[in-house]
Amino acid sequence: MGRYVIRRLIQAIPVLLGATLFIFVIVFALPGDPIAALAGEKRQDPNIVLILRDQYHLNDPVLVQYGYYISNIFLHGDFGRTFAGVPITQLMAGKFQVTLNLALVALIMEAIIGVLLGLWAALRRGQAIDTMILAATLLLISVPPLVTGFVLQLWLGVWLKQTVGTEIFPIAGINGGLRSYLLPGFVLAGTSIAYLTRLTRTSLVETLRSDYIRTAIAKGLSRRRVIGRHGLRNALIPLVTYLGADLGTLMGGAVITETIFNIPGIGLQIYQGVYLREQPIVVGIVTILVLVYIVANLVVDLLYAVLDPRIRYE
């Protein structure tokens, strides 16, 4: 087990380097000069431009720039500064937490709703409820979060408040504590819930067809035990993989949701970063998202080894 963990950690290094290099080069390739963009329409003093270019290593080849960038991250925890001089880490402090909270709320909703609906559909396969659940997931997948967001804001935010008299689901900001995260969390989780429902259904149906389930039945075990112990334990394995990898997707996907619900997280920040062409902000946040992806995948791989004994010894 120990060796497995170490091997997976070592494997994560080239992934991290490759992913960050990719993002760095892409942003580098974007047209426009960031120093020129700083001053807008005004004329710049050529000397100051030179100093700034030197300060941000903009005259060096792209790989050297990347080298400076990545070594600053790992040696000093320094993700760089905005062109206005604010450290990215300072800019992100607090915002990262907000987005993580939002993503976790979404992940929990996804896990509970997705798995339960999927199990229900699988156990009633071919019956009306199965068809209804599948149709509902299709709807969730087809409607973009932009639409679900505004519709839920209107129905559960505005109309419900008018009907009941008090606010149950806040529609903007994060001042309502956990309650503020419920609507955006659901909107963010929407398509993931649908995919997880389908995955759970398929996984359990597949598992229940396997030979060891037949053995469990032949052992004279109750249906409850056959499905609950022998089936579920095996059916869960692919779901854990999906859920783990989805944490990264949810954090990245928060851009739209945070914009709709005006939530001050890194999604909103990245939106503003792109809008203002603040490349260090974009690269910095995306790098952190890549890190989240890698860590989440690592956790998934380790969980996988716990859930499936066949992995440990290979």
């Binding site: 396997s210 030979d211 060891y212 037949r214 053995t215 469990a216 039945i217 032949a218 052992k219 004279g220 075990l221 109750s222 035990r225 022998h230 334990r233 095996n234 394995i237 859930l307 499936d308 004994p309 066949r310 010894y313």
Partner: protein, 345 residues
């Protein structure tokens, strides 16, 4: 001591005239999109304590489906049992409630499956899987149940059982896995053991060891055993009687001795002649011509007639009954006399 709810079944003891297990005119069909597949068409056989019945036949002959019907592990639907009885100690299992059926399954009638790797749950240790029988059905504590599991693993001769009880199925060799499967099936001293091609997935050398183990366990406990196989070589040493199945019905019943010496059905005869023999080395091996019948579209008359060297006109129209040849022999062939005499029509 059995749990109270099994009382719907006759207690152990004398059997009287009743066989331990009797399958009577069993029909099983599957509803598929292409139509109704009649997998088992009127199969009857019986089994006494300590007796081994070998059920022989190729894939699709209905031998496994019959076994699954006895165990009650068919998926219903799509499977359906429109006719027939499965009497265990005089009680028709098909008439029992689901609950009572569950009490019989695993505890009094147990089954060993073909491929032990896929038939054992990959995420639980073998000790957990064997001891589950004692925990669930006998209410034993975890520790006692594990000790019982080790005992059973010793009994099926798994080396260093105590060290290996916490290993997972994939850490064992094929033969050892099948031993674990057997240990699990005999855990609660069943009265009937159904072994569905228990050696098919194994090396020839290991096959013999597993058959030996099964025969030995049977002698010790006097359980009745149904051995399902397509391999005539496997059954010779262990079986008392043989039922040959073709197209969902039994085409020949015989003792092992009789069937090897003088088969009374052309299909059995074909099977025997297609076994490679050292003394016929260099000669072309006999093969039964044609393909197994399509269960969706069975041939008229005798199901074997399209492939039969003894075929006459009436075989195409009249499905032969099981002709009684002697007290222990029967054959579903109009021309069993000619087959016995070896006189190719």
């Amino acid at each position: 001591m059995r749990k109270a709810s099994t009382d719907v079944l006759p207690a152990e003891g004398g059997l009287g005239d009743e066989p331990l297990l009797a399958v009577e005119n069993l029909h099983v069909e599957f509803a598929t999109r292409a139509g109704v597949v009649r997998a088992v068409n009127g199969v009857s056989y019986s089994l006494g304590p300590g007796e081994t019945l070998a059920v022989l036949g190729e894939s699709g002959s209905g031998k496994s489906v019959t076994a699954q019907a006895i165990m009650g592990i068919l998926d219903m639907p799509p499977a359906r049992i429109p006719k027939g009885e499965i009497r265990f100690r005089g009680t028709d299992l098909l008439k029992l409630s689901d609950e009572a059926r569950t009490q019989v399954r695993g505890q009094r009638i147990a089954m060993v499956f073909q491929d032990a790797l896929s038939s054992l749950n990959p995420v639980f240790t073998v000790g957990w899987q064997i001891s589950e029988m004692f925990r669930v059905h006998r209410g034993m504590s975890k520790r006692d149940a594990y000790n019982k599991a080790v005992e059973l693993m010793d009994k099926v001769r798994i080396p260093a059982a105590r060290q290996r009880v916490n290993d997972y199925p994939h850490q064992f060799s094929g033969g050892m896995r099948q031993r674990i499967m057997i240990a699990m099936s005999i855990a609660l001293d069943p009265e009937v053991l159904i072994a569905d091609e228990p050696t098919t997935a194994l090396d020839v050398t290991v096959q013999a060891q597993i058959m030996e183990l099964l025969a030995e366990l049977q002698r010790e406990s006097n359980m009745g055993m149904i051995l399902i196989t397509h391999d005539l070589g496997v059954v010779a040493d262990v079986a008392d009687k043989i039922a040959v199945m073709y197209g969902g019905r039994i085409v020949e019943n015989a003792s092992v001795h009789d069937i090897y010496k003088t088969p009374a059905h052309p299909y059995t005869k074909g099977l025997l002649e297609s076994i490679p023999r050292v003394d016929l080395k260099g000669q072309e091996l006999y093969a039964i011509k044609g393909l197994p019948p399509n269960l969706l579209d069975m041939p008229t008359g005798c199901a074997f007639h399209p492939r039969c060297p003894y075929r006459q006109d009436n075989c195409v129209t009249d499905n032969p009954p099981l002709y009684e040849i002697s007290g222990t022999r029967s054959s579903a062939c109009h021309y069993w006399r000619e087959v016995l005499d070896g006189d190719q029509g």
